[in-house]
Subunit: 372 residues, 2 copies
């Protein structure tokens, strides 16, 4: 009952909360990070239920380099939350009687017309395989999936639009449930590219533990922009995530609306995401090599000058190392810095975006000071 | 009486206010921007009083590339406030009887031991000239100024440490009063390099109207890092500055303490201030030219890729143009963007600095939306 009240109160600054509570992480016993799993009661013939957890990033994803494919401007790292705490539960059903795809979200029918849903459904359908159950007399060939329609019912056990990644849990769950229904043979990382088409951060909810969404180089189809598990949920068992509720209001501007605005107007975001000239300079260095090693040496100096300017790519490397070695001080420092920098790019957006308030500021202020 | 109450309430977020009220500037009749001047009653023989106004930047100064000389990491542009509103009044006296320099600030004696005061006093003393008044029998030779001591009494008619640039008004006034006393022949821009040694933004208070603090190239002595007047106070007479009080608390971290922290820890600040690699790449281009024009062409492309990444240097040019042509829309847009970006660098600092609160956020939010 206490929990129910707690979640109802999660507010506009929840987007920030993940970062603040990281600084008040503590070494406490108890399992809190869980992998994706099916609930025990998913035994229906022509329908499947799945549960998918939410995830909270410690190196932030904010902004896309490709809006349609949902390819991020930078890599991100997250921690998957325990299914017993924040999760989406999705039941999917298929029948020749269904005339169109339909979705009920938290009991209310929603439109599936957006590109996000259409791209996700088209992609997962294309991966469907033959399904046979002689005992029950069911036989669906892979090409049938393109004609059959789904009924989808999804439920989150926490409020949507509050920065607790409800769309991440939701799309991960949708893709996972449909994949099971259609006998899709993909592994979790392959499935994560499908979930990504619905919501970028959803790709990270396909794995438990510590997860990285890799940038990828396939700019045309985005096939190599998927999530990989850095460490499983048992790796750092005395790490706990505490969610502090600071407001009862929803976000004024959703992430889906806010992030493109940042991409379009914030000079800081592009600097933060990746210093693209590094790549240019390196290519140029190679090109020059043909004509003389002396010039190459000079260009290498130029390249070294550029390299320390990078922000996220450097932090990704440092964060992976901190997680691997369970180095809490570095982990917390990087998480705080990246959270604050994410909010800084929001403030650098025109018009500015605010996902923190005085209460969250005060928390950061006092907690970070304790840490330093 | 109403005004008195108003100023007492100026709070921790006053540092932000200048930016917010810019968006609520309106075309209103009335003179509000005033130049530096003497009050009419400064007629004492061996003492001089001066009044100096505060100034509010529209392109922000935050962070020094040289702490001792107070050389900024980027150029800034400000508007000088009317002396009738926010100003410092300083009276300086000299006498062979004075045993040491002494300062009373708002009626309370303060130490002059800090580098800021010592550098300012040493520099202005070195510029003193012969002073003779036959009628009153006063004769002070220029070399005498190095031996004589001052008594300085300064008073601000607005609260200190609230982001309304009290130190700017104070140091501008101190330097101006001493210059008059010692018959210093420097013009305002030359004097501004002395005021700068006390407080960076003080250099801008030596001029009325619209003022730019130029970066300068003299890294050893900072002699060419001074303030110039872009336009005088009559240039844009229907522009008014409105100061909105949002909190009654002082800043938690002073600018003097906060800015060096940003310089030391914020990746964004250095990107914002100046993209230094541009210069490197250009120098390299020239170096290469010796061996072949073909390579130069390639490097020029590289340089062009770098150039658009600049933030403040580009805004300075655009702001100068907007002020010159009284283009309010551009002026307001740039002012808002730069204010928000300044606060973004504060948030990107470790530990983060907050000079805004929920009230100021709301103001920005609603006012900027109206403007867009």
């Amino acid at each position: 009952m206490y929990h129910a009240t707690l979640w109802i109160d999660v507010g506009s600054l929840a987007d920030h909360i993940p970062y603040r509570f990281v600084v008040i992480y503590a070494k406490v016993e108890g399992r809190i990070i869980g992998p994706l799993s099916y609930p025990d009661d998913s035994s229906n013939d022509d329908s499947d239920s799945a549960k998918a957890p939410s995830n909270i990033s410690v190196i932030k994803y904010w902004g896309k380099r490709n809006e349609a494919l949902i390819l991020a401007v930078n890599e991100s790292i997250s921690i998957t939350l325990d299914l017993d705490h924040l999760c989406a539960t999705t039941t999917v059903a298929v029948s020749p009687k269904f005339e169109k795809d339909r979705l009920w979200l938290n009991g209310k029918e929603m439109s599936l017309s957006s590109d996000r849903y259409q791209n996700t459904l088209r992609e997962i359908r294309s991966r469907g395989d033959n399904f046979e159950d002689d005992e029950k007399g069911i036989k669906i060939m892979k090409e049938d999936w393109m004609r059959l329609h789904f009924h989808i019912a999804s439920h989150n056990n926490f409020p949507t639009g509050t920065g607790l990644a409800s769309s991440a849990a939701g799309f991960a769950c949708l893709v996972f449930a449909l994949a099971k229904l259609m006998n899709v043979k993909d592994d979790m990382s392959q499935l994560s590219t499908v979930a990504r088409l619905g919501s970028g951060s959803a790709c990270r909810s396909l794995h438990g533990g510590f997860v990285k969404w890799v940038l990828g180089k396939d700019e045309k189809k985005g096939k190599d922009s998927f999530a990989i598990q850095l460490e499983d949920e048992k790796h750092w068992e005395d790490l706990v995530i505490l969610i502090v509720v600071v407001s009862s209001q929803q976000k004024e501007i959703s992430s889906a609306k806010g992030a493109p605005l940042t991409v379009a107007t914030s000079p800081f975001l592009h600097y933060r995401a990746k210093f693209r000239l590094l790549a240019s300079a390196l290519r140029f260095a190679w090109c020059i090599t043909v004509s003389g090693l002396c010039i190459l040496r000079d260009l290498t100096v130029l390249t070294l000058n550029i390299a320390p300017k990078e922000v996220v790519p450097k932090r990704i490397v440092e964060m992976e190392r901190a997680i691997r070695s369970r180095d809490f001080a570095t982990f917390a420092k990087l998480t705080c810095a990246d959270s604050n920098q994410f909010h800084a790019t929001c403030l650098d957006t025109s018009p500015p975006l605010f996902y923190m308030n005085d209460t969250s500021h005060r928390r950061v202020h006092s907690q970070v000071r304790e840490l330093m």
